[in-house]
């Protein structure tokens, strides 16, 4: 009787293992990026399974209690919370239902046997039947575990390839962004004064133009002075002509006087002959001075005409030069203003490009943290696989009713030894002591702690120890 008790008690416990592991790992298979959640479920599964083995061991010592437990096989086999987690996955539960069926048959047969006889020979037959039922279940459990292991390996391969590909793409993005930034900054340098670029060349050109304009302006002032002088000169010939007029008047009067003197000399006869000669010479002189007066008048008119021409030419040339200088100055100032505006725009654009580059760097830095979770979840999945493999080895080696198989303490120790991550250990403890899991270091939390630390120069972070 005690052997039957052991066997039957093992069965429901292994159901707990199978259901929990199926949920955990199929969770992973459904959506690879949720590998972490799946790991948690799988770990719960492994924990539950090993706890169940521990329970089984305690039941060995009370075979009577085990017999009573037979009637609860079906309800124990599928704990309510496990079923609630995935109510729609009826297909996934099919293999488990068939296992339950095997157990129902076993229970039925055991009931029949109990009723028929309590003799030693019927006990042996009863045991044989139970062992057979259990072996059938174990065979199926082995297949499920093998299947789960294959799925887990596949998940790890796929997520690693995906993470690697994302990483490569990030590298390309960062390189493209860096190149773009470098090119923009190089271009912008052209418009930063003092760097020998286009801004300096244009600036020098404008400077030359404006200093030329300045020079022209000075010359124009000199021109204006010259014009004023010429204008003053233009009035002089007229003054000269008034003197010439005076000369003609004097010459006319002298001529008249000479004529009168000649008449008076004729009246005086021979005594006036000398005076007549003098009067004639005076008349010649008056004619010469009249001729000089005419020449002066003519010359002054010529000079006045030339001076007026010069005055006009000077005025025209000054107007033309003034207009051109004004235009050149305007053009120079317009170009300078536009270059200054362009430089300002370039400066703003450069700042924007730098800001965008910094933002990309910060986002990439967060992505670097996120991608590392692929390695972390890979390790966690490998630990689940490790414990499943150990369980499988045990199932292959031992017959279900042998003590070694039920050495749950050894299995738990083995599982615990596989852990390398704090999160795994905390989950293990929480599941075993039936407490809620509180410690989880998610990607979001790691990123948040990174933000808190940002800016503190000396703070290397909680996860760094320097010896």
């Amino acid at each position: 009787m005690s052997d039957s008790g052991k066997v039957l008690r093992v069965t429901p416990d292994l159901f707990v293992l199978a259901v929990a592991v199926v949920f955990g790992v199929l969770g992973v298979a459904i959506w690879a990026p949720l590998a972490f959640v799946a790991w948690a479920l799988a770990t719960i599964a492994a924990g539950l399974a090993l706890r169940s083995l521990a329970n089984a061991r305690s039941h060995l010592e009370t075979p009577q209690a085990s017999m009573c437990a037979i009637s609860r096989i079906e309800t124990d086999a599928l704990p309510e919370d496990q079923v609630d987690r995935c109510p729609d996955d009826t297909e996934l539960l099919e293999p488990l239902r068939s296992d339950i069926k095997h157990c129902e048959i076993a229970e039925e047969k055991l009931g029949e046997l109990n009723q028929q006889s309590s003799s030693d020979s019927s006990n042996a037959e009863q045991q044989q039947l139970m062992i057979e039922a259990c072996q059938t279940f174990l065979d199926e459990a082995r297949s499920i575990i093998l299947l789960l292991l294959a799925h887990l390996e596949n998940i790890n391969k796929q997520t690693e390839a995906a993470a690697l590909s994302i990483g490569e793409r990030f590298e390309t993005i960062v390189k493209a962004s860096d190149d773009q930034q470098a090119q923009t900054l190089h271009l912008a340098q052209q418009f930063v004064p003092g760097k020998g670029g286009a801004a300096d060349i244009i600036g020098e050109g404008i400077g030359n133009l404006l200093s030329m304009v300045q020079e022209f302006s000075t010359r124009l002032e000199d021109n204006a002075k010259l014009l004023a002088q010429v204008t003053a000169l233009v009035k002089l010939p007229e003054e000269v002509r008034s003197f010439a007029q005076e000369i003609r008047f004097i010459s006319d009067q002298t001529n008249l006087l000479a004529l009168n003197a000649s008449i008076e000399a004729a009246h005086a006869g021979s005594r006036g002959a000398g005076f007549g000669i003098v009067a004639q010479e005076v008349r010649k002189l008056s004619e010469r001075s009249a001729s000089a007066g005419r020449s002066i008048t003519q010359l002054s008119r010529d000079i006045e005409r030339d001076l007026r021409k010069l005055q006009q030419a000077l005025a025209e040339s000054a107007g033309w030069a003034e207009e051109r200088t004004r235009l050149a100055s305007e053009v120079g100032h317009v170009i300078r203003d536009r270059v200054e505006a362009m430089t300002g725009e370039m400066r703003r654009a450069t700042t924007a490009v730098k800001d965008a580059g910094e933002q990309i760097s910060s986002e990439i830095s967060k992505a670097v943290v996120s991608l590392q979770f692929q390695d972390i979840t890979r390790q966690e999945i490998e630990h689940v696989s490790g414990s499943l493999e150990a369980l499988l080895a045990k199932m292959n080696q031992a017959r279900p009713f042998e003590q070694e198989m039920l050495d749950s303490v050894g299995s738990l120790k083995h599982l615990e030894a596989l852990y390398t991550i704090d999160d795994e250990r905390q989950t293990h403890l929480a599941i075993l002591s039936k407490q809620e899991r509180t410690a989880t270091s998610t990607c979001a939390e790691v990123l948040a702690s990174g933000r808190r630390r940002a800016g503190k120069e000396d703070d290397l972070g909680d996860n760094v120890t320097l010896f």
């Binding site: 972070g461 760094v464 320097l466």
Partner: protein, 120 residues
Amino acid sequence: MRCVMAVDDSVTMRQMVSFTLKQAGYEVVEAADGRDALSKLREQRVSLIITDLYMPNLDGIELIKQVRASPSYRFTPILMLTTESQGSKKSEGQAAGATGWIVKPFQPEQLLKVVKRVLP
């Protein structure tokens, strides 16, 4: 240019370490495990080694011990970059000759700060 060796059996981790350090101007040599690292160290001189703990063929602690046995690498800084955060393991690493211990995941700017701090 300073050359850093990144040892990890995870390609993703090597990629992330290498990417972070190259961005900051370091040259990076990658190795897939302790044995690969030792053979590459014979060919190339590096200024810093960043290694994972759990790796096939030769693990991080054993790698540190063997590297420290070589006179030319006696004082080269070695950082452990691992998911392991147990104090006992850290002490083991320290005893083997590790310079520092970083628990995964690392933040890029944080790794660069640590690297700058330990490089002579």
